[in-house]
């Protein structure tokens, strides 16, 4: 198995949830912010020493949920602070951005890191379309066209023009070209059957998929199966290493300790950081066709409600989170792997207000007692 160490770079200093989304930045303290960036970057670099295969970051806007409006800035620091580990940039919210700029920045990261980029080409979460004034109802169509523009920009040997639906470019020829040939590894989201089918539509680029919101294992299994079947029909046979799932993860010496840490961290995550996001999300999802049909809209709503209402034990059982002693977590991972047949697990250890000492301890336990069990597979 391969493991990705994922970070949201949360703001840890709120005593109550923001009233609204976007969240007022009045209480942001830049000195504390600098301290957090230093700590978080150290942690992300430490992932290499702990044997993770990827160190990973992502993009969010207008919220204490994550201090990474542009995760490429973070990845470029990590390119310098690490030597071998892959940089999981999961990823740029492509429909919100200029796809040529995305292609350029990713190509820079790929060259600067000597080909270590895993390039996430993601749709993002619905309410963030408000941030950049992009119609959420166009998100899928914009993503589809933007991915084509980006792949062309990476691979075309001659300057080219693009005449499309959402994008028009008279002449594009990016410098640098990417380090990986024919292009950097890409990863797309496939959290449900609809997005799994969409991801398989790019089979010619041999994408990875990532599923980071697991509410129940059967639905996840079905999404993976859809991706595999539909990709095979297009001449691409994804293996375990092409499929990733993401999990809030807490590893401690004992199950009791891990569950206690997770409980208080999740309280901050859901009760404070996610609160205004939920409200904004509901607004956008209900008022637009972001999720193709009503069933999908309801499903996503149910998903979030379900995750919030479940006990930690139930979330472990559902495959949403990994929590416990190293031995328990090894068991949980083996079960997921056997059920899903995938090969990449992404761990979010800095959950909400999780203390840094607990995050570090979890990483060391991963290195010393989990990786030796699973890393060779």
């Amino acid at each position: 198995m391969q493991f990705s160490f994922f970070h949201l770079m949360p703001w840890t200093e709120l005593s109550e949830p923001p009233r609204e989304w976007p969240a007022s930045n009045r209480s942001f303290d830049p000195v504390k912010g600098k301290e957090l960036y230093d700590t978080y970057l150290d942690t992300l670099a430490f992932a290499e020493e702990c044997g993770f295969s990827w160190t990973s970051c992502n993009e969010h806007h207008f919220s204490p949920y994550g201090l990474m409006a542009n995760c490429n800035l973070v990845a470029s620091v990590l390119a310098q602070r690490t030597k071998r580990i892959k940089l999981g940039v999961v990823g740029n919210l492509v429909p919100l951005l200029n796809p040529v700029r995305v292609a350029e920045e990713y190509a820079m990261l790929d060259v600067m890191s000597g080909g270590r980029l895993v390039a996430g080409l993601l749709r993002g979460v619905p309410h963030e379309y408000i941030a950049y004034n992009i119609p959420p109802g166009e998100s899928r169509a914009r993503l589809k066209e933007a991915v084509e523009v980006i792949l062309r920009a990476w691979t075309e040997p001659e300057p080219f023009g693009w005449e499309g639906e959402y994008y028009r470019y008279p002449s594009v020829s990016i410098w640098p070209r990417p380090y990986q040939q024919p292009h950097p590894r890409i990863i797309l989201s496939a959290s449900n059957a609809e997005s799994a089918e969409f991801a398989a539509g790019f089979a010619r680029y041999r994408p990875m998929i990532g599923i980071v919101l697991i509410a129940d294992l059967d639905a996840t299994k079905a999404a993976i199966e859809t991706f595999r079947t539909s990709s095979r029909a297009r001449g691409y046979d994804p293996g375990p290493a092409d499929i990733m799932t993401g999990h809030h993860t807490c590893i401690a010496e004992t199950d009791e300790e891990a569950f206690a840490q997770m409980r208080s961290a999740e309280a901050y995550f859901h009760g404070v950081l996610m609160r205004s996001m939920h409200d904004a999300q509901k607004l956008v999802v209900q008022k637009t066709r972001y999720f193709g049909d009503e069933r999908a809209t309801k499903r996503v709503g149910d998903h979030l409600a379900e995750i919030k209402s479940k006990s930690l034990e139930e979330l472990v059982e559902a495959g949403s989170i990994l929590c416990g002693s190293p031995e328990s977590v090894v068991r949980q991972i083996k079960r997921l792997r056997d059920e899903l047949g995938h090969g990449v697990i992404q761990m979010t250890m800095k959950i909400g207000s999780m203390p840094e000492s607990a995050v570090r301890r979890g990483m060391e336990l991963f290195r010393d007692r989990i990786l030796p069990e699973l890393g060779g597979e």
Binding site: E145, P157, F160, G161, E163, G164, E165, Y167
Partner: protein
């Protein structure tokens, strides 16, 4: 509703040449423009109609296509280029713009190679003659069935004519001499083209000294029908503004 093979308001006309009568369709006012059809034969398209709104469009029927008789002695692409070049030279005193679709793009390159003085701007839509293709395997031509034109009643004759002029193969002389085509050139190809490989278009773009290559999103080989607005916009813009079509204008912004 107007049938898709109805050329109205284009008028049918003909010109005498040394080897026989050359049929052509014509409509519009303005600077003359030659449109050379694909191996699908002469048929109207949204692009031809759009061009005729600002240009005097001449669309000759290549002998043997659309049920027309062959010309004696016109047996290969070089002879065909001479025939069309003679038509252009006999009618216009200034260089003309040529738009060539697939097979017509190959013919247009041949004319530009042999008679650079006759050609102003050149638009090549997924041109033939620069890649090999097994003619027994016909890929999907149109990415959008709902806008595809009806099959031509002259299809068998069109296919035979295309093959007899050497269609479906790389034209070795052209391939060697691409760099001599000095006209301002625009190559367009659909992102879903299953006939013409993008790599061949990239070679053309690299070889011609004054050439741009533009991808038409979600269009197949029959790009004039698959994406009429996108093709029309970029082709018209290039013909209107030449190289300056690279410079965005307020009108382009959205």
């Amino acid at each position: 509703m107007m049938a898709q093979d109805d050329w109205n308001p284009f008028r049918s006309d003909k010109a005498k040449t040394a080897s026989g009568t050359l049929l052509f369709w014509r409509d519009g006012d303005g600077r003359p423009l030659i449109y050379l059809h694909s191996a699908g034969g002469p048929r109207p398209s949204p692009l031809i109609r759009a061009l005729s709104r600002s240009r005097d469009v001449y669309a000759p029927t290549v002998p043997g296509f659309g049920g027309s008789p062959r010309h004696e002695g016109i047996d290969d692409i070089a002879a065909l280029a001479e025939l069309i070049a003679g038509f252009i030279a006999g009618r216009f005193s200034e260089p003309v713009d040529i738009v060539g679709n697939s097979f017509g793009g190959w013919l247009a390159m041949r004319i530009a190679l042999a008679h650079p003085d006759l050609v102003d701007h050149l638009v090549l839509e997924a041109p033939a003659g620069v890649y090999d293709r097994d003619l027994d395997v016909v890929p999907r031509i149109f990415a959008r069935e709902e806008t595809a034109p009806p099959p031509s009643p002259h299809r068998a004759g069109d296919v035979a004519a295309f093959a007899s002029y050497g269609g479906g193969r790389i034209d070795p002389e052209l391939a060697d001499r691409l760099g001599e085509i000095t006209a301002q050139t625009l190559v367009v190809i659909g992102t879903e083209d299953e006939m013409a490989p993008a790599t061949a278009m990239q070679r053309v773009k690299a070889a011609l000294p004054n050439c741009h290559l533009t991808y038409i999103y979600e269009a197949g080989h029959g790009l004039e029908h698959d994406a009429p607005e996108r093709v029309g916009r970029v082709v018209s813009d290039f013909l209107e503004r030449g190289q300056a079509f690279l410079v965005p204008t307020a009108r382009d912004q959205r």
